[in-house]
Each structure stands twice: as C-alpha cells, then as structure tokens.
C-alpha cells in the first residue's frame, strides 16, 4: 500500500465537501473491505481516504418510517441488517441473503453503502435490493436526490454517482404480502462470491402473480432485470408450465458473460435452473 492521508470527518456533509469530482484518488471508505483489497493488490492507490466511521450515528441505524417504508442508514453493516428483527419481519429475504454472503467478519465490517457503491457485479445484495424496488438517497454539493437501486449501476464497477456524491440511506418500500426469494449458486464454497444470483419478488394475492420483479446478478456487467420472464409470469398462476416457460424466457433473453466462475453457456443454464427454483420456492411459500 502507498502513502495516503486519512480524514475522519464527523458529518456526512463534511465528507462530501472533502471529495473532488476531478480526483478519483480521493475516496470515501466505509467498511473498507473492498477498498483494502484493492489497495493491497495495488489496484487502487489513494492519495486521501475519507473514513465515514465518525459520521452521525443515525447513518448506522435503521427502522420503519411513518409511511410504512423501511430506512437503512448507509453505514449500517451487513451484520446489522442480518440481525435487525424489524428488518427481518419487513423483508425476510435480506436475512436469508446475509447468511450466505461472505463470512461473519466481513459482514461485521462491510456496509450497505459500500455494497451498493462498489459496483462489482458479483455481489448478492444489489439484485435483492433491486427486486425489493429499493431506492438510495444520495447527497452531493448539488443537494439530495433519490435513485432507484435498479438505475444505480452503470456497468462493470461503475455507478451513476458523481465523484462527490455519497449514498446516505437505502429506502425499501412497503412489501405488504409480497413474497421474495434469493438463490445463489456458488462453484467453490457455499459462501463464495456468486457465480449466479437470482432475486425474485412477486405479489401472489390470490393465486395470480402480479408485479413480478426478477433480477439476475453475477452473469453480466451489472444486475439484470428480466422483463421478458416477468411478462410470462404476470397475470398467471405459478403452475409448473408457467414456471418452465419463464425459466426458458429468462435463459433466452439474459446475455451472460464468461468469468472465472463459469462460461457464458454454463451461466445461461444456471439462469434457467435457478429461475425455476426461485419461482418454485415463491409458489410454495406460505402467504
């Protein structure tokens, strides 16, 4: 690692003011799990790191908002999210996802802000938050804005955030009776980085599926929402036939890219198999 300066501002706004959109060597560090790896492997050489560890404690907290949505401060750790009972009641899929995400020590340190801003397509939480229709609220010198997580990622390790824009919080809308599932396929160990992730939410009020959101992670440059498969599902009862058709539609429409965890053809087959399993799981969940 090279020499760098470390700043510890005590407000998020203070952190924003230290950033320079022209200078990518000045970066905020939340948990630092991703940045430390990049620094240790000489991929990233910061001149200044701005740690968010001392910012207002409210950014490490989460809870229900009066309008029924759920707010998660950007500095909440993945462990905080895993153990929060209110969040588990609101969206049980998050706790399920955490159990198989990396390991206890990484989850104790990594934050939701970092997990979303990092932009590595091989991550579990982004597709889940897209399926839950979550939004991020950001802060920059221009003020605040709200961005659907579905629009946050622009490409491989790229987000649409500007160089001096930080994620403040994540907001998940009320899920009512929506059902959700996240399935992860790993090719080495259970808690490895995903070779494929399938996140699914749907409304099964009555037996008919509505407003399905199907999102595939780890097969392309960013999480991919599969409108073609959603169209097959919506308005239908989740019968074996519908499920098989949706799985085929997903496999046909999602463009997969080869990586160290599998070839493109292998990933396409994974899409077919795991979309089917996710739909079966949702169909069999107790309402």
């Amino acid at each position: 690692m090279n020499a760098f300066e470390l700043a510890l501002p005590d407000t998020l706004a203070g952190a924003v003011s230290l950033l320079d959109p022209e200078d990518p060597t000045i970066r905020v560090m939340s948990g630092g799990t991703a940045l430390m790896l990049m620094m240790k492997t000489d991929v990233f050489h910061p001149t200044q790191l701005i740690s968010l560890r001392r910012i207002e404690p409210g950014y490490s907290q989460m809870g229900l908002l009066p309008d029924g949505s759920f707010r998660i401060g950007a500095m909440s750790t993945l462990s905080d999210m895993e153990h929060d009972d209110a969040l588990a009641g609101f969206a049980p899929v998050i706790r399920q996802t955490m159990k198989l995400l990396s390991n206890v020590r990484v989850r104790n340190v990594a934050t939701v802000g970092g997990a979303l801003a990092h932009g590595d397509p091989h991550m579990d939480l982004p597709p889940v938050l897209v399926a839950l229709d979550a939004q991020v609220v950001t802060i920059s010198p221009e003020g605040e804005r709200t961005i659907p997580v579905a629009e946050l990622h622009a490409g491989y390790y790229e987000t649409i955030l500007s160089g001096n824009e930080l994620i403040k919080e994540v907001i998940i809308p009320p899920q009512h009776a929506r059902r959700a599932s996240y399935l992860k396929c790993t090719t080495r160990a259970v808690k490895d980085w995903p070779a494929l992730g399938v996140a699914l939410t749907t409304d099964l009020d009555g037996d008919t599926a509505r407003d399905t959101r199907l999102v595939i992670g780890a097969v392309g440059e960013k999480p991919i929402r599969v409108a073609e498969a959603e169209a097959v599902i919506d308005g239908q009862i989740l019968s074996d036939k519908t499920i098989a058709e949706a799985a085929d539609a997903a496999a046909e429409s999602v463009e997969t890219i080869e990586d160290e965890l599998g070839s493109a053809a292998y990933k396409t087959q994974l899409v077919r198999v795991y979309v089917k399993r996710a739909l079966q799981q949702v169909a069999n969940q107790n309402a």
Binding site: M36, L37, V190
Partner: protein, 159 residues
C-alpha cells in the same frame, strides 16, 4: 512501502489502555505484531477469507488483515492473548478434541467459536459449519474443530 506518515493512536488492548505510534498503511495485524509483539493474529490469505488474522474489535470479530490500524483509535481490541494465564472452555475443548495440527489457524477459530457460542448457545453441526466457513484450516482438522465447538458449547451451557 514508501509510507512515512506516522501517527499515534490510543485504544484498549486486552483490557489495558495503550497507545501506539503507527504508520498510515498499517493493518491491525501490523499494529499487533510490530507495535506489541503479539503474533496470535497472523496474516495468511490477506483477503478476508481464512480467519487467521481474527481480532475482536469493539466486541465483534473482524479480519485484522483488512482493517486499517489508524481506524482503531479509541476502539477496544481483544486478541487470543487476552487470557494468557488460564485457558477458557473453548481452548480446553480444542485441546481435548485435538482440533489442530500445526496450530496456525487456531487463534482465529477460538475467537470465532467464542462469538459463535455467545450468539448460538446450542449450535447444530450445520450452524457451526456455516458460522465458521470464513475460517480455513489447511491441516484439515475440521471434524475435530466441530467436535470441540460442540464440547465447549455443552460445557458453557452447563456452567
């Protein structure tokens, strides 16, 4: 390493208030080894995967290899050296079960096991495997480790 920036941090180490002069790029492993001659947390993978560098920071286990020492200012750190005089039930169970060969991974496993039992007093084998997937034993003593965890948990429940 061309880093020459140094700074002083104050923190609590195994129950004692300490301060240390550190370099900006130091991790917690560097801090413990170079600042305090403590070698229980050791770097192996250096990537957060294996748990050999486990330290307990503000009550939670973290990978010392991925955490900047400078950020430990004001923190409470516990290492495997925190009970040098006596063995705790987890350490005793590891010895009785023969849950190590070379011992390189053992400090990490012991610290993680303490946390595991605090969170799940009666862990099933599956829960143990899941909780400890981020700890690797290159000697492959996993069956004995699981036995040790169960033994320690049973003893701590009885106590």
């Amino acid at each position: 390493m061309k880093d020459v920036m140094t700074q002083t941090i104050d923190f609590t180490l195994n129950g004692k208030a300490v301060s240390a002069e550190i370099q900006g790029h130091w991790t917690l492993v560097d801090l413990l080894q170079q600042g305090f001659d403590l070698y229980g947390a050791r770097q192996s993978c250096g990537q957060g995967l294996c748990g050999c560098c486990t330290v307990v920071l503000n009550g939670k286990p973290v990978s010392g290899c991925l955490f900047l020492a400078a950020l430990a200012d004001g923190a409470t750190i516990e290492t495997i050296e925190n009970n040098e005089e006596t063995l705790d039930p987890v350490q005793e169970a590891f010895i009785e079960a023969g849950a190590f060969q070379c011992g390189f991974c053992t400090p990490g496993f012991v610290l993680m096991t303490r946390q595991l039992i605090a969170e799940i007093p009666e862990p099933s084998e599956e829960e143990i495997r899941l909780y400890l997937t981020g700890n690797l034993c290159r000697c492959g003593t996993y069956p004995q480790i699981i036995e040790a965890v169960q033994k320690a948990a049973a003893r701590m429940r009885a106590a």
